[in-house]
């Protein structure tokens, strides 16, 4: 009987050998940086410029809550000289892994260093991780990246500092632009309704009331009462538009639109906001600056 299954055993061993044969990696003198989200990758591209090669694990449209590793992600982390991630539990259980890798090479959580008083606390010592929607906080993330790059590659310190400064200026311009645009919306209409509660910081920064349908997590269920309450709220406040996000299924917010229609109030779907990820290369939101501007424009044009 052993003989009959011998060929299977041989196959197993052969397959193991095949799987273990190491893949050759191409080396060049650019700094290899890997990030989790596209927003952080964008910072690194702007600050690092021609000296870095950046790859992100979560590509366009990928919700970090729903991210699943592919086999290629192993080598992205393996070949990196430097890794940046968001932190504040945005990456979920992967945070453990990133901290472990941190014992061997520089791994930096761009959001963890921010003064906790500036963050939105969602529970006891638990903080809202979506800090990229407050430009002032995001600037601190940029500084983290700048410092991280300089520590690993001090040779190009001047260039990193210069590029970081330029990027910080661009962010400040964007912040000013957003403030000016939001001013165009009448005060009592500054209410942002979305399916996914990622806009807490955005609302706080620009004085917009943010009402979400679900909790913070994309995976958690929303209650019947949530839908009901939201519909009543929309009808009562005469809200013109609700928003769908690129990384959340449209179904949940469409339920709300139909609910309002039943109560004779026409609420529009105000266009797509980017929440947890940048847009693809063909979209108008493939960098952080464009993504943020696109969100502001979408919100202003439908609520104004």
């Amino acid at each position: 009987m052993l003989k009959r299954y011998m060929w299977l055993l041989t196959l197993c061993i052969w397959l193991i050998c095949l799987g273990c044969s190491s893949d050759s990696s191409i080396q060049n003198n650019q700094l290899q940086v890997t990030t989790t989200t596209g927003m952080i990758a964008d910072i690194v591209r702007q600050v690092g410029g021609r000296h870095v090669e950046v790859t992100e694990l979560m590509g366009p449209g990928v919700d970090p809550h729903l991210y699943k590793a592919s086999s290629g992600d192993i080598s992205k982390l393996e070949k990196a000289d430097l890794i940046f991630y968001n932190g504040l539990h945005l990456e979920g259980k992967m945070t453990d892994i990133l901290q472990q890798i941190g014992k061997k090479k520089p791994v930096i959580a761009v959001a963890e260093q921010i003064d906790k008083n500036k963050l939105i606390e969602t529970g006891h010592h638990q903080y809202d991780p979506h800090i990229w929607f407050d430009i002032q906080l995001w600037k601190e993330a940029v500084q983290q990246v700048e410092q991280g790059l300089i520590n690993v590659d001090p040779q190009h310190q001047d260039e990193y500092q210069k590029q970081a400064q330029q990027y910080l200026n661009q962010l400040q311009e964007l912040d000013d632009y957003a403030k000016k645009q939001i001013e165009l919306i009448p005060k009592d209409r500054r209410i942002l309704i979305t399916a996914h509660d990622a806009f807490g910081y955005f609302g706080r920064a620009y004085g917009i009331e943010v009402v979400g349908l679900q909790g913070l997590s994309t995976a958690s269920e929303y209650g019947l009462k949530d839908v009901q309450r939201l519909v009543d709220f929309i009808v009562q406040k005469k809200i013109k538009a609700v928003f769908i996000e690129s990384s959340v299924p449209k179904k949940s917010i469409e339920a709300v639109v139909n609910g309002a229609k039943a109560k004779n109030w026409q609420v529009q779907i105000g266009g797509e906001l980017y929440s947890d990820a940048l847009g693809g290369p063909e979209s108008e939101a493939d960098t952080y600056l464009k993504m943020f501007r696109s969100n502001v424009d979408t919100i202003v044009s439908s609520l104004k």
Binding site: G19, S71, H89, G92, M94, D96, G215, A219, S220, G223
Partner: protein, 293 residues
């Protein structure tokens, strides 16, 4: 090195699950793994409410306790006359619902779901190492699933006769004085421990698949129980290694590819297994009827 660890840990999970899967399939409780993967939701919520953190350890403790509890409830209901599949479904849906309710009551602002606080990712096992003092003991997952595998193997080998008899003929087992209920609970406890430890190390989909597919495949190849056990381990290992080799060129989810490989092996066996395969059945039938009477 990562590919070696992934294949080794995948194979260990597949082997543990393969052995237990044989018993589960024969007892018509194959969906137990899937049930546990849902039932442990309240466990992590309680663990979070008590410990106030989303660290892995409290989550694992909470999940293990509720996992054990759920298997005890299922077995208890089954022994008191509820159909196996009904007992299973009622328990896991009720517990899962309890978890959903708890989340919506107490922790709705916090990102707390199984995927992001409990389920591990097999792709990253090599980095999550166990540090004993200054000594690097290799991947933590290896110790978890390896330990569970050895424990399963030990218990099964020690009580092979008892397990076999209580699985195939509980009445006879009771008549010859084997504590049937004890062995049922023991097996359920092993399943719960194995699944929760494996969820934490490699994620849910792989465990649920490996608990069913390799054992079901082995069942198509043989009618002898000890052979079914060895074959299910073999098919499990083949799925783990083959799945990894499939995942690399595809750049796809490793656990997903391993589970799919297990499905492919099952499909192949379903068609071509020597006695129970569709093709061979058809072949024998044709031969039988074309024989001159």
């Amino acid at each position: 090195m990562s590919s070696f660890w992934i294949m080794l840990i995948g194979s260990l999970v597949a082997s543990s699950c393969g052995i237990l899967g044989c018993f589960l399939i024969l007892r018509r409780m194959a969906m137990l793994g899937d049930a546990i993967s849902h039932a442990i939701l309240p466990g992590i919520v309680f663990a979070f409410l008590i410990s106030g953190s989303r660290e892995s350890f409290p989550m694992l403790v909470g999940a293990t306790l509720v996992g054990l509890l759920s298997t005890i409830i299922i077995q208890w209901m089954k022994q008191n006359g509820v159909q196996a599949d009904a007992a299973l479904s009622v328990t896991f849906t009720a517990l899962f619902a309890l978890g959903v309710i708890l989340i919506s009551l107490y922790t709705r602002q916090i990102d707390l779901d199984l995927d992001c606080v409990l389920y591990g990712e097999i792709a990253y096992v090599q980095w999550d190492t166990w540090q004993l003092g200054d000594l690097n003991m290799g991947p933590r997952a290896l110790w978890m699933v390896g330990g569970v595998f050895l424990l399963n193997l030990l218990i099964i080998l020690l009580f092979f006769k008892q397990f076999k008899l209580t699985t195939f003929d509980p009445a006879l087992a009771a008549a010859v004085g084997i504590p049937v209920a004890f062995f049922h609970y023991l097996l359920m406890g092993m399943v719960s421990l194995t699944t929760v430890a494996s969820f934490e190390s490699v994620g849910a989909i792989l465990v649920v698949a490996m608990l069913i597919a390799p054992a079901a495949t082995a069942y198509l190849w043989t009618d002898r129980f000890h052979l079914m056990l060895s074959l299910s381990i073999l098919f499990g290992i083949l799925s783990a290694i083959g799945g990894y080799l499939l995942a690399v060129p595809l750049d796809a989810s490793i656990a997903g590819c391993m589970a799919m490989m297990a499905g492919i092996l099952f499909l192949f066996s379903f068609l071509f297994a020597p006695r129970h395969g569709l093709v061979s059945k058809w072949w024998y039938q044709r031969k039988w009827y074309s024989k001159p009477q």
